[in-house]
Symmetry: C2
Subunit: 295 residues, 2 copies
């Protein structure tokens, strides 16, 4: 069996694994994210210790962002402007190549998760958006079977949105944009705007309508821009299970019957969905990046 | 010399040509759009009369929308829901194949224009958005060198936007969404909202700030979603030359320094640009579609 390495590089932890997208992980470890030297020393130790499993045919890195994703540019594989101490300019690919001389694929954690969701849902899907609503709002995009890169990678969590009147004068928490989508609707913004306990939010609390209205604007904009066949909504905030049907209804309302394939609530139920990937999707996506790099 | 056919199929006119994207048009005609039978009878007559130029290697159709663009679906090449009498369900490809048995490529007029702008700008661009602001707002997208299709084709002219306070209670003109981008910022909305003569709008009129604020939201959303290397702004409304620098400044403001490559007004001047394609870009794009279909 051909095996690969996978790194899901996050701001709080690095998850490393050896295995494959289809066969799962044979061995994994979780490393707390500190400075690059310390973190990558542990990553190297893990892969060296896993050498008994056999040689790796490739490595995939699903990285936190912003990160250079265009192989044609000098910043490919490097962490760009970030508030995380010590990480700006870190070359994720060079760090890994120091101890693993194999083909390396790299993309954002959310683009990798989008690839993993495409694989998990199956059925020949080619266009998908993966959205995680947690401490931030991350968006990964697959169009025509490939992750979307342009002048950077997708950052649609930061699009401008119409403010909900019930949010009053809440300024939003995004350090760059104030009241962009992430500034209004990510977990910390929810906590700052409302005095609510996540485990028990009253059904009549304005949170539901406010949060659904913002995430529906993202869904509508994505449908109208790249036209994903599925929008997968995950992350900590989406564990509020009442949100998903509210977002579907608001998105349907926003689209107003304009898009041929998105005219009924059944269309919304089919296209706006919770994650299907059982394992951590960023890690599965990292295996897919490794397999693509080795192909 | 290999020659191709091109049809730019618009709601008010069909422009037909024989030639190539590089060599230009050898012969063209403009046909007023009526019902499908009458219009295509004239299209057929043009191509039959142009037979003396030699056999065509392919045909490209740059069509008004909404139109099916996925070759895997039964509605491929068909006009979808449209208020234009008689056109809904019309199979553009079958109509053309009735008299031209050659490989046929089809895309939206704005996706075709995006291809034409990529070719006109040159320099190895792979990611571009083409926006036309006229009687409607159309958006064509090229990502990684290919036009973007998903569950439909891009319809980003209809994204929700933040209303500008100076627009007061203007309800917007979009029959589907009221105050979506097109409903607030396309030509008819400008005419309905303000009592202004397009040839002489006072410099202190609120139109400038209102219009720039809406189109800047589109630019920011596009940069944050598919990350085009260039956003080309064309169409009748953009003939107001003061708009372009205002849109650049507002987009820069909206992005707030978040995107690595888009941090200065010079970045905006390089990336938000007027059309570069000298000939009608939809027609040039139709030649490119023909050449791709024949390749």
């Amino acid at each position: 069996m051909t095996i690969f390495g996978a790194i899901e590089a996050g701001g709080t932890k690095f998850v490393c694994a050896v295995g494959s997208s289809g066969g799962g992980s044979l061995r994994t470890t979780t490393i707390p994210t500190r400075d690059p030297d310390g973190t990558f020393a542990d990553v190297e130790a893990f892969f060296r210790s896993a050498a008994d499993l056999g040689p790796l045919a490739g490595l995939g890195i699903a990285s936190f962002g912003p990160v250079g994703v265009d192989p044609a540019l000098p910043q490919y594989g490097r962490i760009l402007a970030t508030p995380k101490p010590g990480w700006e300019g870190t070359d994720m690919i060079a760090r890994a190549r120091d101890f693993l001389d194999v083909p390396i694929g790299l993309d954002t954690d959310v683009n990798a998760a989008a690839l993993a969701e495409i694989a998990a849902i199956g059925g020949g899907l080619r266009h998908l958006a993966y959205v995680t609503v947690g401490t931030g709002i991350g968006v990964g995009l697959v169009s025509a079977g490939r992750t979307v890169h342009g002048i950077g990678h997708p950052e649609a969590g930061h699009i401008p949105v119409r403010r909900h009147p019930a949010h009053g004068d809440f300024a939003g928490l995004c350090p760059f944009h104030g009241d962009c989508l992430e500034g209004l609707a990510a977990g910390p913004a929810v906590a700052a705007a409302w005095d609510i306990t996540p485990s028990h939010i009253p059904h009549d609390h304005p949170f539901w309508d406010v949060e659904a209205s913002y995430l529906a604007q993202l869904c509508a904009s994505l449908f109208l821009t790249t036209g994903p066949e599925r929008i997968v909504l995950g992350g900590g905030v989406m564990k509020q299970e009442r949100l998903l049907p509210l977002i579907r209804a608001r998105t349907l309302d926003l689209l107003g019957g304009y898009v041929h394939a998105l005219r009924t609530i059944e269309d919304m139920e089919r296209t706006i969905v919770p994650p299907a990937c059982g394992e951590p999707s960023g890690l599965v996506g990292a295996f897919l990046l490794a397999e693509d790099a080795a192909a």
